[in-house]
Amino acid sequence: MDAVIRKQLKIKACKARMGIIEGVFNAKSGHPGGSLSCADVLTYLYFNHMNVDPQNPKDENRDRFVLSKGHAAPALYSVLALKGYFPVEELKTLRKSNSMLQGHPSMKYTPGVDMCTGSLGQGISAACGMALGAKLDGRNFRVYTVLGDGEIQEGQVWEAAMYASAKGLDNLVAVVDNNGLQIDGKISEVNSPYPIPEKFKAFGWNVIEIDAHSFDEIDAAFNAAAEFKGKPSVIIANSVKGKGVSFMEDQVSWHGTAPNAEQYEQAMNELQQALAELEA
């Protein structure tokens, strides 16, 4: 990846993380850990990969994005705001009763959201339907969905996985945000879905495994997925829950907890410092 683009993406991702913290802090609830872990992938998709136009969010030929792990809504909202779908200031209204930003993504309220999600396991099925719609219409838009690693414990994920490969939905790319933690603890201890790549291979998918925080690897993976024909692709994105905020990293307790004022200050200071270093 071009060094200038890589740096721009890192800056955007850092700002996206600040938006996540801003939103969850003001909401006094929400899911910072799994939002921070997928922030780089979402940043990449919206700023360097998907064919989308914030001025025309319903364009029928746009690429679609479905956040199957809907609790990472703060990450999606933050990236959508940075992209220009709505003002960044809106992030402070997250989860409030008059906000366009629902606790989990809703296409009814938020420009740029392509599917209502939040109930785990359902987003990937809708993404299959969108990909099928593109094939049926002979349109070349592509569909992207991000799943949690805990989410793939849901049986519906595997119904959808079987269907996508059976129908040859090569215009569909799923990402598993593989941060290793779910609310009740390590996913290996709660109900292990491992080995994840082998499971998707057995279901007939093209499997790519990457470091979820390396834009070079993210870029290579999505480009390879775009080239791959005949099967859907899944990118197992090995991530760190809470990535970018030192005290949240790899801590299950930050799955669904908002920072207090002191923690908010520390998180924002860390991200400000990271941003300053990137922009220097």
């Binding site: 359902q122 987003g123 099925s125 809708a126 993404a127 299959c128 339907g129 049926l136 269907y163």
Partner: protein, 315 residues
């Protein structure tokens, strides 16, 4: 009676889908390995490129239907009522109804009249489940004519619709000139002493009950409530005010279906009249020939007559 045409509403559904395929190129049909039984197989044969079988995975089917609908298709998704409203309840709620997507759920094999397959497949709770979901329209046609009309109307309507079809061949009630409008109940015949609100295959029983009641000097008004949500309160309440007693009749649990909807409407009208519900009495079904089961569970004209007398006695 020998010349009465009997057709299952599921057959009419399959034929109507084929008809729709010829006039609306945005119609696609999904099924979950029951195309022969739900009759979507007719559409599959006519329009194979617009038919998708998701296999035995109803939850995924509802999600795929939702995703397809976002790309501009009018999606009919079919399986048995048990799996459409039961197994895939939450997918219907969260992936279809919450985003208000243009998905029509064609739920066949509803109620006790599934017959020999027994309780595991006899869904008598689907109307209750679907009624509680915002944005959902619920249509329960009484015969093949009405089933066809319902499918065509559902395709025109923008938003989620739950259509309830039966396995059992039922007598044709209406003729080709029958006018169907979503949300508009039909007064089939007027009466003075009791209102009988019926839906689905109980409409035919209500018509027979009217004759039996007439023989005893009781004048019954028969209303076909084909759309259970939104409920046509205006027509039902006007009739209730006129007759002063209401019976509801449905092949569904007495909890949460037509009976509940009518009782709620009558109670809240401020003009309370007795409402007596006929339906499956909060119990599971069992195996047996459909016609026998309907009698065993009291879903027949004789029991409508009994309920009508009960309602009148409560005035």
């Amino acid at each position: 009676m020998a010349d009465v045409i009997k057709t299952a509403t599921r057959d009419a559904y399959g034929k109507a889908l084929v008809e729709l395929g010829g006039i609306n190129d945005k119609v696609v049909v999904l099924d979950a390995d029951l195309a022969a039984a739900t009759k979507t197989g007719m559409f599959k044969k006519a329009y194979p490129e617009k038919f998708f079988d998701t296999g035995i995975a109803e939850s995924n089917m509802m999600g795929v239907a939702a995703g397809l609908a976002t790309t501009g298709y009018t999606v009919f998704a079919s399986t048995f009522a048990m799996f459409a409203a039961g197994r895939a309840y939450e997918q219907v709620r969260n992936s279809i109804a919450y985003p208000n997507l243009n998905v029509k759920i064609g739920a066949t094999h509803a109620g006790i009249s599934v017959g020999e397959d027994g309780a595991s497949h006899q869904c008598c709770e689907d109307i209750a489940l679907m009624r509680a979901i915002p944005n959902m329209v619920i249509i329960n046609p009484a015969d093949d004519i009405e089933a066809r009309a319902a499918v065509l109307a559902a395709a025109e309507y923008v938003g989620p619709v739950y259509m309830r079809f039966g396995r059992l061949a039922v007598p044709r009630i209406f003729d080709e000139n029958y006018k169907f409008e979503i949300g508009k109940a039909v007064v089939l015949s007027e009466g003075a002493d009791v209102t009988i609100c019926a839906t689905g295959l109980m409409v035919n029983e209500a018509i027979q009950a009217k004759e039996l009641l007439a023989a005893e000097g009781i004048s019954a008004e028969i209303i076909n409530v084909h759309t259970i949500k939104p409920l046509d309160k205006e027509t039902i309440l006007a009739s209730a005010a006129k007759t002063g007693a209401v019976v509801t009749a449905e092949e569904h649990s007495i909890i949460g279906g037509l009976g509940s909807a009518v009782a709620e409407a009558v109670c809240e009208s401020g003009k309370c009249v007795p409402v007596v519900r006929l339906g499956v009495n909060d119990e599971f079904g069992r195996s047996g020939p459909a016609a026998e089961l309907l009698h065993i569970y009291g879903l027949d004209a004789q029991n409508i007559v009994a309920k009508a007398k009960q309602a009148i006695s409560l005035k």
